[in-house]
């Protein structure tokens, strides 16, 4: 992961959702509900991750007749590695962690 790359809070939220079930294919609407991200925010993030090669996509057959096929998403190996790093980095940046680290350093 390049050090200069910064991720938005929303992207990190999405990474967390993917990391909860790293090998599972996920639907857009499910990700939206899980992360509380609106469709207008979620999909541009998915598009960016896909462009970077961190997200793979596929279409699935419709669950029942008369319904359209759905698009599914999963992080690639690169994507998983980066997602873990960003989530870890974000956790370190959290105020509670900083306070803990500061307290540990003083002790």
């Amino acid at each position: 992961m390049p050090k200069s790359v910064r991720m938005s809070q929303q992207t990190v939220e999405l990474f967390r959702a993917f990391l909860a079930q790293p090998r599972e294919w996920r639907y857009g609407y499910d990700l939206s509900r899980e992360t509380a991200l609106k469709s207008g925010t979620l999909y541009p993030i998915l598009m960016r991750l896909n462009k970077r090669g961190w997200l793979e996509t596929r279409w699935t057959a419709p669950e029942s007749q008369g319904r359209p096929p759905r698009h599914m998403y999963r992080l690639t190996a690169d994507g998983l590695r980066s997602a873990r790093e960003f989530v870890a980095l974000e956790a370190l940046r959290a105020p509670s962690h900083r306070a803990a680290a500061y307290g540990a350093g003083r002790a």
Binding site: G28, Y29, P44, T57, R58, W59, E63, P68, H71
Partner: protein, 557 residues
Amino acid sequence: MQPTLAKKLARRLMALALLISPPNSRAWIRAMAAELDYIDGSSKALSWSIGCFGAALKQRFISLLSPGALVIETEGGMSKVAKISAIALVVASALFLFAPTFQQGLKLTAASWHPSDTAWFSKMRALGARAEKNNDAQTLAFVAMQLNGDWESNAGSTAAAEDRALRDNYANEAVRQQPQLTWIYCSLLNRDYLRGQSDPNDALWLAQLQKSDPTNAEVYAVEAAYYAPAHALGWNTAEDRALLVSAPGWLSRMAKAFDSTNYDSYISREADLDRDVWLHRNLDDPSRLFSGTFGYRLWDFANFNLYSKYFLLTTAADAEAKGDLRTAEDDYGKVARLGELMELHGDTDIQTLFGIGLQKSANQHIQAILEKSGNAPAANLLAFQMELEQDIAHRISSQITPAKLESRYQTTDAWLMQLSLLGMAISLALLLSCGGYFALRRVVGFAGLQRVGAALASMGVVATILLFASTIAMYFGYSSYAVALREYLNTSNTRDAYSLLFRFTVLEELPARLYYSFRGVDFWYTVIALGGVIVVWILYRQISRTFRHSAPVQPAA
């Protein structure tokens, strides 16, 4: 089950999102649309589709800002959407040319870069010739006021001498046709005096003016100026008095001015003439309206000020000291009367304030004399009148606030218009380059330069966006000027005219201000060099982006 209204709306919105989305992200929008069928609840579906529409709109916007991605899809040509967008933007920009506000703004902004009287004078000569043919006295008078070629760039030239002869001829013809236009001689004499140029017609004009308006103080003040020693008329110096004492012609004319029973500076008549001819003769340079009128009249104020301060008020004070209260009251009274006339009949706030100032300088002495002579009721009445006048002066002065004065010099709109002009020039240059390249390619046929073509095409799309944005900026930048001009043309209130029209001077002077701020540097070479660097940078950026570009990743179907 029938879909609810919200669900129907959501589907419509989704269809619209698909329509506006750029080709390289359409699959993603389709993916979002597919989810709609799996969402329970109409409001949730509507909210989903709103987000989807926003995302599509954003993608379309991004594709317009970085059209390389959009153009490259068709390997060197422009995609249909890009073509349609570019054409639509050019057509929309071209449509602005039909808006008079835009036309005028563009013309004035462009003209500010090469200030020249030549075009205006030739227009005036043509207008004058037509007016002469049609016996149009009003237009002849207007042209006579405008033809002052000997003032600016062509001073001393044959054209200037010809214009002067033409001006005199038109003025005389206008007055011959409509004797009530005799007042234009006053404006012309004022201009001549300010420019230090006497005219063979001056004596004749003064005589005619005094014959037509014998009670007007202004016409004697104009004549007095011709008898003043050239270096005497400063604003307010004691040395002026010594010089003017030895100028009996000046003294006698100023005495007549202060004995006059009327005051008309003809400023309103000049403004009315300007408006009338402007509206009926389709003139298009607002900066020529009313130009310099106030400046010329300020010299008359100097005359009034000098005569009242160093002659009438002084002689009155001397008489008062000697106990000759009758003479003192008489001389003070002359100053107060002219002040009152200026206050009542002045066309501008400056005249009103000046008139009140004259009255105050005399009335305080008259009040003291009245009190001394035991006429308390008259003294009290005068004190009350002075209070009222002070109130009027205060009200007028309070309207001339620093913020109002500052807004007069405000240059934001002018800068916006100048930047718009620059944007238009750059975008047209880019569009011409692109058009030229593609025309040449069609004729000659360059194989293997598809990517350069793509870069140029994307630059062309950027140019159309820049052209449209510049056009809009020019239109809105000039709209406040257009409103001021309309207000000036539709009102008979001359008092606000200067404020309304001053902004045109600001616009006109902006390039000159820019030029002078760059003095010491060779301005035009700097502008050309900077422009060149910008164009090369844009070209480099576009071409390098095109070569680096890879086809957008599409979700697998």
